[in-house]
């Protein structure tokens, strides 16, 4: 049977499609450089393009290796019998994954521009993308938890310099968003009073920060949006931990 081209592909096929596009981003500049060499442009002139492409390739390789490590971490976390009492924190190699994406794209684009002889324009392009990449972890400060601990009473989190507890009794429901390997969680709360009472340091500034975070995170009432791999935790594992906490069936706890 001939497949319908408009039919959405399976997740495996989609991953392959994404991978092919990803390769194209990297292969196109290499092809451009080889073509320029073939046409007779001096290697000396193409040196900046090669340098940019080298950076893009290093970024891409890092991302692929880190992606494999992330999947392995996810599998290991899913096998954990109990998540209680463990402080989950984003490892540096996972933070670098986010940085590597703009660096890789910027490098590839800069390589294309530099192949045409505009190495300066390539510098500007690459520096802008690199700056955005380096700022990526800063965008999460105050918006996503630095660390998470699943406790017997609730979910304890640290955002900026404040920590707070989301008691299991205040969690109304959780809504997973996104594909299985990249799940974000929308934690809908019944009310925010108990959460705000638990904020440490106990001052109006810290409470206001958490209040804003809770209100801004959800459109359907009070809630928290936990992005995929928040605090280095696989979304499905975190979902399981929260569900166990809500139901009171916590393995490894007496």
């Amino acid at each position: 049977m001939v497949p319908d081209p408009s039919e959405p592909a399976s997740s495996r096929q989609r991953s392959r499609q994404v991978f092919r596009r990803y390769l194209l981003v990297l292969v196109a500049p290499v092809a451009g450089i080889l073509l320029a060499l073939g046409v007779g442009i001096s290697p000396q002139r193409l040196r900046p393009a090669v340098a940019f492409e080298g950076i893009a390739l290093v970024g891409a390789l890092y991302f692929l290796v880190a992606l494999k490590m992330q999947r392995r971490t996810g599998r290991r976390q899913r096998r954990l019998e109990s998540l209680m009492g463990i402080q989950f924190k984003t490892p540096i190699w996972m933070m670098l994954m986010e940085i590597s994406i703009p660096i890789e794209i910027g490098g590839a684009l800069a390589a294309v521009v530099a192949t045409f002889g505009f190495a300066g324009v390539g510098n500007g392009l690459f520096l802008t993308f690199a700056l955005i990449g380096l700022c990526m972890p800063l965008f999460k400060v105050g918006v996503q938890p630095r660390w998470i601990v699943l406790e017997q009473d609730g979910l304890r989190m640290a955002v900026s310099r404040a920590t707070f507890l989301v008691p299991w009794t205040t969690v109304e429901r959780i809504e997973p968003v996104g594909p299985d390997h990249f799940v974000a969680l929308n934690v809908i709360l019944k009310d925010s009073d108990l959460v705000l009472e638990s904020v440490q340091p106990n001052n109006p500034k810290a409470r206001d920060r958490i209040r804003t975070l809770i209100q801004a995170s959800s459109r359907s009432g009070v809630g928290l949006l936990l992005m995929p791999w928040t605090a280095g935790l696989d979304g499905r594992t975190l979902e399981r931990g929260i569900r166990e906490g809500i139901s009171g069936k916590v393995p490894g706890m007496n």
Partner: protein, 245 residues
């Protein structure tokens, strides 16, 4: 309105201020070539900032006019290009001083690269947002017809809409439509291919049958968000021909 200076005004002042500095440096004969390239970026930046300022006032006037007139029916309403371009132009006016700084330090090409990167990123982000959101609509007797990029569309019956809320801050408002269910809207989807349907499901924030949510950004379909919210509420109440307040 609070006494906070708007971003467009800040950009205009920054570009004009730096242009003044560059003009003084030029007057005293400092690095004529570098200064000239920096000045070109700052003149462009000033032009873009002026566009942003004019856009703000033009949008205010447009919103005022729309408040006094009924929203047209059975006509596809789109975002005018001059409003659509606002996002890109604001980003360019913001990065023009950085480009000028690079030019002042000796590389006009680096400055151009910065502007190119900002333009590429803004355009890509805008394209992705437009692809998965409704940016064009038509008020029809049966409901609200919403269009995705590429012309695919669906009809949300008035009776499917549970609530209309206005969200966001003073300068950037969103209209949020909460639906009782998405089945009837998805059933009307044209062209009904699985891929297009998947995009519609994403834009509706809900699977077949589940309660959905539609977010219409500020100036979606070229209508000011509060006016759009009032018009939808009026249609829901069955008084769509009344003047909107």
């Amino acid at each position: 309105m609070s006494g906070k200076v708007r971003w467009e005004t800040t950009c205009l002042l920054a570009n004009l201020g730096l242009l003044g500095v560059v003009a003084s440096a030029f007057h005293f004969g400092l690095g004529a070539h570098r200064i000239r390239t920096a000045a070109i970026f700052l003149i462009l930046g000033t032009g873009w900032s002026l566009y942003g300022e004019l856009l703000f006032h033009a949008c205010k006037l447009r919103a005022g006019r729309q408040r006094e007139r009924p929203v047209p029916h059975d006509v596809r309403l789109r975002v005018p290009l001059w409003i659509e371009a606002g996002g890109l132009i604001t980003m360019l006016s913001t990065s023009a001083p950085v480009a000028a700084l690079a030019a002042g330090l000796g590389s006009g090409q680096v400055g151009f690269g910065v502007l190119l990167a900002v333009a590429a990123l803004t355009t890509t982000t805008g394209y992705l947002v437009a692809r998965y959101s409704f940016r064009s609509l038509a008020f029809e007797t049966g409901g609200l017809r919403l269009y995705l990029a590429g012309g695919s569309n669906l009809l949300v019956p008035w009776k499917s809409i549970a609530s209309v809320d206005l969200e966001g801050q003073a300068e950037w408002k969103l209209v949020q439509l909460t639906l009782f269910e998405t089945r009837s809207a998805l059933a009307s989807f044209e062209p009904n291919t699985p891929r297009a349907r998947q995009r519609a499901t994403l834009a509706l924030h809900g699977d077949d049958g589940s309660p959905g949510r539609i977010l219409l950004t500020q100036w979606a379909a070229g209508i000011d968000a509060p006016v759009l919210a009032s018009a939808i509420k009026a249609e829901m109440a069955g008084s769509g021909t009344e003047r909107l307040n």
